[in-house]
C-alpha cells in the first residue's frame, strides 16, 4: 500500500484512501505501525514533492520581492533555510517517528491527555481554516483575470469590491462542497496534476527570465552574467514596498526553516514518518523544500519582480509616488501567471489553489470533528469551508501570508518540544514518559502551562523585546524544553507500572 494511500486515510478520510486502492485501509490509529506496513523511500519522495508545490507558493514568492530582498539574501537564504528544515525533519521528527510509530495525536494524548489534545485540535483547525482561506484567495485571483473585477491591493485588509467577494464565495463554496462530498476525485486530480504543475512553475521562471533579458537588453554568456542580472534587475534589494517588513538574509533563512515548523519541530509529521523503514528517509523532505520552497518561490517572485519593473517601480521615489497615488501593483497569482503562461498558467493557479485547499479544509474539519465527535463529517467540513471562505474574503490573510505562516509555526511549536522532551530527556532525568497515560489523566497541567507560558514568552519577545515574529520560535523552543522539564520535575508523582526507561520500536 502506498504512503499516499495511508496518509490520505489518516489526514483525509477513508474515501480518499479507497480511491487509491479500492481496498479496506488499516489506519493504525492507536497502535504502532507494524513492520509489514512500512514503506520504501520513494513513497516519501513523491509525497513531499507534491505537497509542497501548492497555491500558496504563488503568493509567498512575490511577497519576498515586496519585502525588498536582494539576490544573495533570497537565493542563499532559501538554500540554507530549506536545508535547516530538512535537517529538522531528519534529526527531530523521524528518529521519534521510527521508534514509536504512532500518530501525532495518539502520541500527544499519551503525554498530554485527551482534553489538552482537544485544545490542540481547535488551534490546529483554526489555523488550517486560515491557510485554506489563503489558498481560496489564490484561486479567486484567477477569476479576476476572466471577469475583470477590481482585485485587492497590497495594503488592503478588507474586501474592496463586490466582484471580489462573489468570486471568493463562489470558489470557496465549490471547494467546500467538493471537500465534503467528493474529496476522492479532487485528491486524484491533485496526484495527476503534480508533475505538470511543477513544470509550469519552472516555465514561470523561464518566461520571467526571458522578459527580464529583453527588457534590460542583456545577454547571458556565463553564470556570472546571470548572477549580475539577478542582482541588478530581478532581486534588487533596497527598501520594501510600503507597509512591508524588510527581509534580510536572516529573515529569508528563518522563514524557509520555520515555514513548516508545525510539521517538523512541531512533530506533525510523526504521522508520516511512522511508516518509514529508516529514520534517514526524512531526507525525502528535500524534494518538497527545493522544488516548492526554492524553485517555485523564486519563479513566482521573478514574475512579480518583472511586474514591478514594467510599472516603472525601480527606485524608492517611483515606489513612493505609486503608493501615494494608490497604484502599487499587488502580488496577485492569477494575473501574474496569466501574463507569463496564458491559460495554462491560469489553470495552474486554479488547480494549485484548489488541490491544496481541499485537503486543508478536510484536515481542519477532522480536527474540529475530534472536538465534536458526534457531529457528521459532512456538516463539519461544510462549516469549516464556510469559515475558510469568509476568511478568504479579507485580503489581509493573503497579503500578510508571511506573518501568518510564522504565527502558525509558533503556536504549535511548544507541543513539538514537549514530545521531544518526553521521548529523549525525561527518562534520562529520572522522570516518567507519557505521564498523562500512566497517571490516567485527561489533562496534563505541566504540558498546558508549558504551552501557554512559551507562547507568552514569544509574545513578550515580539512586543517587549521587539524581535520580529520570524525569529521568536527558536528561543521559544528552548524555553518550552526547559519549562516542561522543570514543570514535570515539580508535578510528576510516582505511578506504579512500567519503568520510565526509553521505549519504542526500533527501526
Amino acid at each position: 500500500m502506498s504512503l499516499e494511500t495511508q496518509v490520505a486515510y489518516e489526514t483525509n478520510g477513508p474515501d480518499a484512501a479507497a480511491a487509491h486502492t479500492g481496498a479496506e485501509v488499516n489506519e493504525y490509529e492507536r497502535t504502532p505501525v507494524p513492520r509489514s506496513a512500512l514503506l520504501p523511500f520513494k513513497s516519501f519522495l513523491g509525497m513531499y514533492a507534491g505537497e509542497h508545490c501548492a497555491g500558496t507558493e504563488l503568493m509567498i514568492g512575490p511577497l519576498f520581492v515586496a519585502a525588498g530582498v536582494s539576490a544573495f539574501d533570497v537565493v542563499v537564504g532559501l538554500i540554507v533555510g530549506n536545508a535547516l528544515a530538512v535537517v529538522s525533519w531528519m534529526l527531530l521528527t523521524a528518529p521519534i517517528a521510527t521508534r514509536v510509530r504512532l500518530t501525532l495525536y495518539y502520541q500527544l494524548e499519551k503525554i498530554c491527555g485527551r482534553r489538552l489534545v482537544v485544545i490542540y485540535n481547535l488551534v490546529n483547525g483554526v489555523m488550517f481554516c486560515c491557510l485554506a482561506g489563503a489558498m481560496i484567495t489564490v484561486s479567486a485571483t484567477a477569476l479576476g483575470v476572466w471577469f475583470k473585477f477590481p482585485m485587492p491591493k497590497l495594503d488592503d485588509s478588507y474586501p474592496n469590491s463586490v466582484g471580489w467577494v462573489l468570486a471568493v464565495l463562489a470558489i470557496g463554496a465549490l471547494i467546500s462542497i467538493v471537500a465534503a462530498y467528493g474529496y476522492a476525485m479532487v485528491a486524484r486530480i491533485a496526484n495527476i496534476a503534480v508533475p505538470w504543475m511543477v513544470l509550469v512553475f519552472v516555465a514561470f521562471g523561464l518566461v520571467a527570465l526571458r522578459d527580464f533579458l529583453v527588457a534590460s537588453q542583456t545577454e547571458i554568456h556565463s553564470a556570472g552574467d546571470l548572477w549580475r542580472l539577478a542582482q541588478t534587475e530581478i532581486w534588487r534589494g533596497g527598501d520594501p514596498l510600503p507597509g512591508k517588513t524588510k527581509f534580510t538574509f536572516m529573515h529569508v533563512m528563518f522563514f524557509a526553516w520555520f515555514c513548516n515548523m508545525a510539521m517538523h519541530i512541531g512533530m506533525s509529521d510523526l504521522t508520516i514518518f511512522r511508516y518509514a523503514r529508516k529514520s534517514w528517509y526524512a531526507v525525502a523532505s528535500a524534494a518538497g523544500m527545493y522544488i516548492g520552497h526554492f524553485m517555485a518561490w523564486l519563479a513566482a517572485s521573478m514574475l512579480f519582480a518583472f511586474q514591478l519593473r514594467e510599472a516603472g517601480l525601480v527606485n524608492a521615489a517611483a515606489v513612493r509616488a505609486a503608493s501615494e497615488a494608490n497604484s502599487l501593483p499587488a502580488p496577485l497569482p492569477g494575473p501574474l501567471a496569466h501574463g507569463a503562461c496564458g491559460l495554462a498558467g491560469l489553470l495552474c493557479v486554479i488547480v494549485a489553489g484548489w488541490t491544496t485547499a481541499n485537503p486543508t479544509i478536510y484536515r481542519a474539519g477532522l480536527a474540529f470533528q475530534a472536538i465534536l465527535p458526534r457531529s457528521s463529517r459532512f456538516a463539519v467540513t461544510i462549516l469549516t469551508g464556510l469559515v475558510a471562505t469568509v476568511a478568504a474574503t479579507f485580503p489581509a490573510l493573503a497579503m500578510k501570508l508571511l506573518d501568518f505562516v510564522a504565527l502558525y509555526g509558533m503556536l504549535l511549536m511548544p507541543m513539538g518540544a514537549i514530545i521531544f522532551v518526553d521521548f529523549w530527556l525525561l527518562p534520562r532525568l529520572g522522570l516518567q514518559r507519557e505521564y498523562a497515560e500512566r497517571s490516567r489523566s485527561s489533562f496534563s497541567v505541566a504540558a498546558f502551562l508549558t504551552w501557554a507560558a512559551t507562547l507568552g514568552v514569544c509574545v513578550w519577545l515580539m512586543y517587549g523585546a521587539h524581535i520580529e515574529i520570524f525569529f521568536v520560535s527558536l528561543p521559544g523552543w528552548f524555553v518550552a524544553v526547559a519549562l516542561y522539564i522543570v514543570l514535570s520535575k515539580v508535578m510528576q508523582r510516582p505511578v506504579a507500572g512500567r519503568s520510565p526507561a526509553v521505549q519504542g520500536v526500533q527501526a
Binding site: 495527476i192 503562461c341 496564458g342
Partner: protein, 67 residues
C-alpha cells in the same frame, strides 16, 4: 493502449516545458508558447487519468492461461 497513453503523457510534459525553453532562447514567440502549453495541458489531463484505468482493467482481465 497503456504504452500509447504513457507516450502521450510524456509528449504533454515536454509540451509544457519545451515551449518555455524555446521562448527563453528567443526562438518562439510568447503567443505561440502560451498556446502550445495550453495544448499540452489539455493533452496531459486528457491522457493521464486513463493510464491508471487501463492498467487496472488489464489486471482484472484474466489472461488466456487463466481462462
Amino acid at each position: 493502449m497503456n504504452i500509447v497513453l504513457r507516450l502521450l503523457a510524456a509528449v504533454a510534459l515536454a509540451g509544457t516545458i519545451v515551449p518555455a525553453l524555446l521562448y527563453l532562447g528567443g526562438t518562439l514567440s510568447k503567443d505561440s508558447m502560451q498556446w502550445t502549453m495550453l495544448a499540452a495541458t489539455v493533452l496531459w489531463f486528457g491522457a493521464v487519468p486513463w493510464i491508471g484505468r487501463a492498467a487496472r482493467r488489464a489486471a482484472q482481465t484474466p489472461s488466456a492461461e487463466q481462462r
